[in-house]
């Protein structure tokens, strides 16, 4: 199981950040997600595997700086 926005989602072997975002079908353009304490940027979404039991935060990085 992985936790995202207070909900639990079934984890599967080899699941990447890109897979997760596709499953969520969320139209927002996320540039960054956080897996537990670690920040992952979009260029790495496809190659970053999500470990089981992770907590995921979708970061609306839109106009920082």
């Amino acid at each position: 199981m992985i936790k995202i926005k207070e909900k639990s989602i079934q984890w599967r072997e080899g699941m990447t950040v890109a897979d997760l975002l596709k499953d969520l079908d969320d139209p927002q353009h996320y540039a960054v997600v956080k897996i537990n304490d670690k920040y992952i940027s979009r260029p790495d979404f496809k190659k970053t595997m999500i470990p089981d039991n992770s907590e995921i935060f979708l970061i609306p990085m839109i106009a920082g700086g």
Binding site: A31, V32, Y39, S41, I59, I62, A63, G64, G65
Partner: protein, 713 residues
């Protein structure tokens, strides 16, 4: 002899503190240190409705203080410091900023910088919406604004510590009378005296850690003006601050909005950027992932060792605990490092507390100079603060010097034997100590990039064209730390900013480059209108911009324009109405800023700047300068030439492609200027039109006179 050690009283006046009404003291404090003159000026309703407060008040005072011929080190140049109508509201996130303005030694025009700490609110509660200091003193002077005992004092400071770090702690103890939290000190250090890139340190007292903490008004050499005037420190003393201190029109509404805002931050910050734990350091690896982290003088945007100076490292190094630079700010992002032991300089081997580093310092004094050791960054951060030097200008200037050194544009005979290759951390630190002492090659680096370009070409025979391309300054101000090559909108965000390339006006890289939300020139121009205006507004009101969009509501993504975070803009509008009693709508905030923004542009014009030619940026900010830079991202650039510009690149060498790309990109930047000037209601030369100044009610005779002198009638 005065009651304070090391201080000889020169002048004391008593005054009657006015009652604060709806966020305003309705009075300015004006001090001329040449003749120790202390006076008060009334703030009229007209001044308030036109300039609002904060930076607006500073600009109005400064405009009246200086002539078009005034230089930064003339006595009539003023340093103005103001809070704003909402400044000093405890527990409302980010409500403690001070805004400082002066004529800058590096841009020779108007400079403004905003800073945390308690000074601005304490100044206002002592009875003054803004402080203007003019004149020059041959002795070191200290100004004490005592809002509790209702007196203003000027002292001669004798044998007080040179370094800001010690000085502020000593003065807090001396003037605090057992209550250090009642004191905020503005000071600088020896670096400000010996360079043109000096900063001001503003303090707040950290009651939990029982120590003085610092925030910096860094940009544009305001600290150097302060030192040149002979001011050692300004101390403000005020008592407890409550929600009623501002005597707001509707305290219940403030309580309500403030509580909602604070709660949202406490709930969402841990899920988003964790600013309360790691400050802005999360940006390091994110910028690196997107090829946006300035590396080796903005040549590249990525480095394999970036994570060594990223959030995961500073998470462990930062001292845990509450770090709000304003009372009760739940973003609490002003972190520091406890018991740090410098390896060099006057504090070598001693334990110190370092305020920072923030992202800008890590990128400027780390990756951009090829340093990926987190502790060296902390040491540079510490000495910049103690010496009163701006970490951004120091970092960007050293980056320029290092590239010049590696390219052979300067050599060891110029640097007095120092190897200034990228990554040479001991020599980077040595250069910093030299800047502070006014010694060796440090005296040249401390002049900032614009002057270095002239010196390197004139005295060392360096190629002026390449210096112009790689010297990362515009308007005389060093760039802050974001790569802009792939974001035309952010090139405008830097190049079209009033004071020079600082990202406080606009930060559009993600919207533009990553999300491609603004493909047309008109859309970019609209963003380069709305965002600078909203961001300017925070500086008018005494507010910090960070809570607005560094933590965003969970339903923000479902709003029509998520980038504007309109739920928060509405809260700010309510907040303004609740303090001042003037009912406003979100669009009114933009209008308030437009007035001050255009006034500042015309102020630039008054000082001989503020035209299209002054919005020029170095080509390094626009695209690859060298063959090596081009080839490092060849696929990207080749693709752009072929697909966007329809060039048949087959058989073309890098040199030729580099020139073609440069031509296209430079043209695009000029087209962007056209679109932005049009959107802002300016002429094609970047000057506000008569219609614009009339619409904004700033068509005062002296404004029209400046426009007339520049051919606008």
């Amino acid at each position: 002899m005065a009651e304070y050690e090391n201080l000889r009283e020169l002048k004391t006046i008593s005054y009657k503190r006015p009652t604060i009404k709806k966020g305003y003291a309705n009075q300015f404090l004006c001090i001329d240190i040449s003749d120790l003159d202390i006076s008060f000026k009334q703030v009229t309703e007209e001044i308030k409705s036109t300039f609002v407060g904060g930076k607006g008040f500073d600009l109005w005072l400064l405009w009246n203080a200086v002539k078009k011929t005034t230089k930064w080190n003339d006595p009539e140049n003023a340093i103005c410091i103001a809070s704003g109508p909402m400044g000093g509201t405890p527990t409302f996130p980010g409500s403690g900023k001070s805004i400082v303005a002066t004529i800058s030694p590096t841009t020779e025009s108007v400079m403004d910088s905003n800073v945390g700490g308690y000074f601005g609110p304490y100044l206002k509660f002592s009875g003054f919406d803004a402080l203007e200091i003019k004149g020059k003193s041959s002795k070191d002077v200290l100004i004490f604004i005592d809002g509790i005992d209702q007196k203003i004092q000027i002292f001669e400071a004798v044998e007080l510590s040179e370094e800001s770090y010690d000085l502020s702690a000593i003065l807090t103890e001396q003037f605090g009378k057992g209550k250090p939290r009642n004191i905020s000190v503005v000071s600088t250090g020896p670096g400000a005296k010996h360079t043109l890139i000096g900063c001001l340190n503003f303090t707040w007292y950290d009651s939990k850690r029982k120590r003085v903490r610092y925030k910096q008004a860094g940009r544009g050499g305001i600290g150097s003006v302060f030192a040149d005037k002979g001011i050692k420190a300004i101390v403000a003393r005020w008592d407890d601050v409550t929600l009623s201190s501002n005597n707001p029109a509707d305290v219940d509404l403030i309580k309500d909005v403030g509580k909602k805002y604070s709660r949202e931050i406490v709930e969402l910050d841990p899920k988003q950027n964790e600013m309360s734990r790691i400050g802005t350091t999360h940006l390091v690896t994110i910028m690196n992932d997107y090829d946006l982290l300035p590396t080796k003088n903005f040549q590249y945007g990525r480095h394999p060792e970036a994570a060594n100076v990223g959030a995961e490292v500073y998470r462990r190094i930062f001292d845990k605990g509450y770090d709000g630079c304003w009372m009760g700010c739940t973003v609490a992002c002003a972190h520091g490092v406890k018991d740090f032991v410098p390896l060099t300089g006057p504090y070598k081997g001693k334990k110190v507390f370092v305020d920072g580093p923030e992202y800008e310092t890590i990128a400027g004094c780390g990756s951009n100079i090829g340093i990926f050791d987190p502790f060296t960054v902390v040491e540079i951060n510490f000495y910049c603060d103690a010496y009163g030097l701006d970490t951004i200008s120091v970092g960007t200037s050293i980056a320029f010097v290092m590239e010049c050194f590696e390219r052979g544009l300067i050599n060891e005979s110029n640097t007095e034997g120092m190897d200034l290759s990228f990554g040479n951390r001991m020599n980077a630190l040595e250069l910093l100590h030299q800047m502070a002492g006014g010694e060796g090659f440090g005296t040249i680096v401390g002049q900032g990039i614009r002057k270095m370009k002239t010196i390197f070409a004139r005295d060392y025979g360096a190629d002026a064209d390449i210096l112009r391309d790689i010297g990362m300054e515009s308007k005389g101000l060093e760039f802050s730390e974001y790569m802009t090559k792939e974001s035309l909108a952010q090139q405008g965000g830097y190049g079209l900013a009033l004071k020079g390339p600082q990202h406080d006006e606009a930060w559009l890289i993600f919207l533009d480059m990553v999300h491609n939300f603004m493909p047309t020139f008109e859309q970019k121009a609209e963003a380069l209108h709305w965002f600078p205006m909203l961001r300017t507004w925070f500086g008018l009101c005494g507010l910090c911009k960070l809570p607005w969009n560094d933590i965003v509501p969970e339903d923000n993504k479902d709003t029509p324009e998520p980038a504007k975070v309109m739920k928060h803009v509405q809260w700010y509008t309510d907040y303004f109405s609740a303090v001042t009693g003037k009912q406003k709508a979100p669009d009114d905030l933009i209008h308030m800023s437009e007035t001050v923004y255009n006034f500042q542009r015309i102020f630039n014009l008054k000082m001989g700047f503020g035209r299209r030619e002054h919005d020029t940026i170095p080509y390094r900010a626009v695209g690859p300068v060298t063959v090596v830079e081009y080839e490092s991202r060849q696929d990207r650039y080749d693709k752009q030439l072929a697909e966007k510009h329809k060039i048949d690149i087959a058989g073309k060498g890098t040199d030729e492609k580099l020139k073609l790309l440069r031509k296209f990109r430079e043209e695009q930047y000029e087209k962007l200027k056209d679109a932005v000037y049009k959107r802002r209601g300016w002429t094609n030369d970047g000057i506000p039109t008569i219609n614009t100044v009339k619409r904004l009610n700033i068509d005062f005779p002296e404004v029209l006179e400046v426009l007339k002198e520049n051919g606008i009638q």
